[in-house]
Subunit: 439 residues, 2 copies
């Protein structure tokens, strides 16, 4: 099987799609040059159809540009795009105490309260990744420099005692990341806080999304937490036990939400860790489970635990098998572990992020274990994804297909789809294919 | 057109479907004889697939059985089914102060807080309609009577000074209806209360669903409010200006949410009554608009205002034309008034309630105005509805079809579909067809 895949050619396909089509789309179409931040409600051709700004997607786009700067090459254009989004977030995205709203209007006025913990987690990885980028950026702005970085440096006040220039901006952003991460930690037992609609004393549930995302946040925040704080200005979680935190996240994902008796990960459990037979407790989200597995593989690499990687690859393959639509192809959005009807009316739709995350998990699984089943599935999911989600006529990809694989919504971005899963997927798969080719 | 419709035969079709198939399904399959109340999560054949109890649907089923008792014939079976559901609601459905939860577990423990005003409106019409039924019921229970009514009468304490027997239970339920209605009125400016996620000072919106439902509640509560209170026990809204209330509801629906420049009703507006270009402000829900039009026609009859009826019929026809899927038939669930992409992934699906409400509005519009366009559309929607939603093999109808008209979920009941729109639609259309035939 592996013999017939030309890894070099495939890597180039992903690279070119990312750098020649997808990233230019977001650079050119999403930046709000008037009020700052990003438009994400972009129609098929990139025209803006709504100007509200959703904090999840603002943070994710900052992260994406920063990640490109850090892993592809230090293009000023990417750094500038990240900084302009970060400044909008820093000024308007929170209530002054780093409680991150869910949505703002175009100008930055809050629309929706900070009810959603993932607004915080994506702010954490955004400011963390950007602070790393800024450590590599030029330390001072030469006269006549017209970059966003240069103009921001002229306006911000350096934290007291910090060195000046980009390094001080890096420290400021690192501090925002750390302090936001602290708030995330304080909310893990009751993520919805006062916006929870659960009756006190009701059947208490916990959901998979939080430990799953925290597996990713852990690796993002680690270099920020462990870097030398240049001054007291960067306070917060410096004494934090990151190793214990990673162990806790892994335990929740791999020992609690993964159910060996099902061979699957469930979306919600009783607080006591038991399966519950109710709508929430029967819900499966194969895309979530599969995405989590590449976070776990990354943690397995970080910790030097090959058995953890093997287990994650095994679960990933089980989830792809289970979630694959044998009739029309593609992976279902929601399923029921007892085969009962769901109330999510979109249950049978095919979503872009599910398929891009699956591509990452499968190719990473192949890279780390050599399991040929990963490659077989990768090729099948690759074929489905590229032939159904990619728009041959305009850049960026469709997000929402019906069960049959037809385009349900023509949009390239919206309230939930931004500059994240498509470029992150393309970047990861490109880099892994390149590494396989070179190994 | 009207010549080729055999109204008598069609009336019989609706009557028989209602009384021979749909109502027996709910009587036999939904009643929880162990803990009281109703199961509504019923699979294709009526088997229970989830035991949680949703207050919207508990209230609506009480209403439905009471309405049948009041308008078809006084069958003890229907009265008993209504009373057993009402007793479950009375004991467990609220917090002791008639704040109605959203969901309970099977035994009646609260699961979801009273965040949703429609839990209150459906409790209002449930207890109101049942209190009317009980006025007609036998005043005392003879020895050896094993009905639910009889056993409930033995347990409840008659309100002080009230007459005994069914009349006292009627008073008790009327009091619950009135006091709940008072709470609804107190919440109309801020229906979500502390569960609202809107930031203070954010773009303030109001939604169509509330004035729409209140148009229906108005006619349901009027006979309760205007009946002679037999004692001080039935307190509350006795001095309430129902005429002013109806005028206010009609104004909101017909002058504020109906936009002549669009020829359509919008789902949300700025608090100031202006159109807003954001996701909420662009949303159209043709089923809501069409359903509201038969509420308005009923109010037009009640007020003796034929011009109001004419206007409602005109809007109904515009909405049906606009909402009809020219490619696959059926009426879309959600649309965007500017044709922009929606974020509701179920936007193009065909839902049972939309089509049943449309049948009511069209046949009522024909009955009241003789407009032949109503009859033409009625026949088209009738053909689509009966051929797509009705299950020939098991009683009750499917609720959710994809755009192409294929069954999306096999369920007959769930979290949002209960004993309400199918039987209410069949009952209304049957009775109207009968009246047309006899006129």
């Amino acid at each position: 099987m592996s013999q017939i895949i030309n890894f070099r050619q495939l890597a180039e396909l992903y690279r070119s799609e990312l750098l020649d089509r997808v990233i230019p789309f977001w650079i050119n179409k999403s930046q709000d040059t008037e009020f700052g931040g990003y438009f994400t409600c972009l129609d098929r051709d990139g025209s803006v159809y709504d100007t509200d700004k959703f904090i999840w997607l603002q943070g994710r786009e900052v992260w994406m540009f920063s990640k490109l700067y850090n892993t592809v090459e230090p293009r000023q254009e990417w750094l500038d795009a990240a900084i302009q989004g970060a400044e909008f977030l820093r000024k308007y995205g929170h209530d002054g105490n780093l409680n991150w709203y869910f949505a703002l209007d175009r100008e930055g006025h809050p629309l929706v309260e900070p009810y959603n913990i993932f607004s915080y987690t994506f702010a954490t990885i955004a400011f963390g990744q950007l602070s790393i980028a800024l450590r590599k950026a030029p330390l001072s702005s030469p006269e006549g420099d017209t970059s966003v970085l240069s103009s921001v440096l002229k306006t911000i006040e350096a934290p007291s005692g910090a060195v000046g220039g980009a390094a001080s901006l890096s420290d400021l952003y690192a501090s925002i990341a750390k302090r936001t991460f602290d708030i995330v930690l304080s909310k893990t037992d009751n993520p919805k806080g006062r916006w929870s609609k659960a009756s006190p004393g009701a059947r208490a549930m916990k959901t998979f999304d939080l430990p799953m995302i925290l597996c990713n946040v852990a690796l993002e925040i680690e270099p920020i937490l462990t870097s030398e704080a240049p001054s007291g200005a960067v306070g917060g979680a410096t004494t934090f036990n990151i190793q214990g935190f990673i162990d806790d996240c892994l335990h929740e994902v791999m020992d609690v939400f993964y159910r060996p008796e099902l061979g699957l990960i469930v979306e919600a459990l009783g607080k006591d860790g038991n399966l519950v037979d109710c709508f929430d407790g029967r819900k499966l989200n194969p895309g979530h489970a599969i995405e989590a597995m590449w976070f776990v593989m990354d943690l397995g690499k970080r910790l030097g635990r090959p058995e953890l990687i093997q287990k994650a690859v095994g679960i990933c393959l089980q989830e792809v098998e289970y979630g694959w639509d044998k009739e029309f192809g593609g992976i279902f959005y929601f399923m029921d572990r007892l085969g009962k009807p769901r109330h999510e009316l979109e249950w049978d739709q095919k979503l872009w992020w599910v398929h891009l995350e699956t591509l990452i998990s499968l190719i990473k699984g192949y890279q780390l274990t050599g399991d040929e089943r990963c490659l077989t599935w990768f090729q099948r999911v690759h074929d489905y994804t590229w032939s159904h989600f990619r728009d041959p006529d305009y850049p960026e990809w469709y997000g929402y297909l019906n069960r049959q694989g037809e385009v349900l919504l023509p949009l390239k971005g919206g309230k939930w789809k931004g500059c994240f899963h498509v470029p992150r997927g393309l970047l990861n798969v490109w880099k892994i294919l390149e590494a396989i080719q070179n190994s």
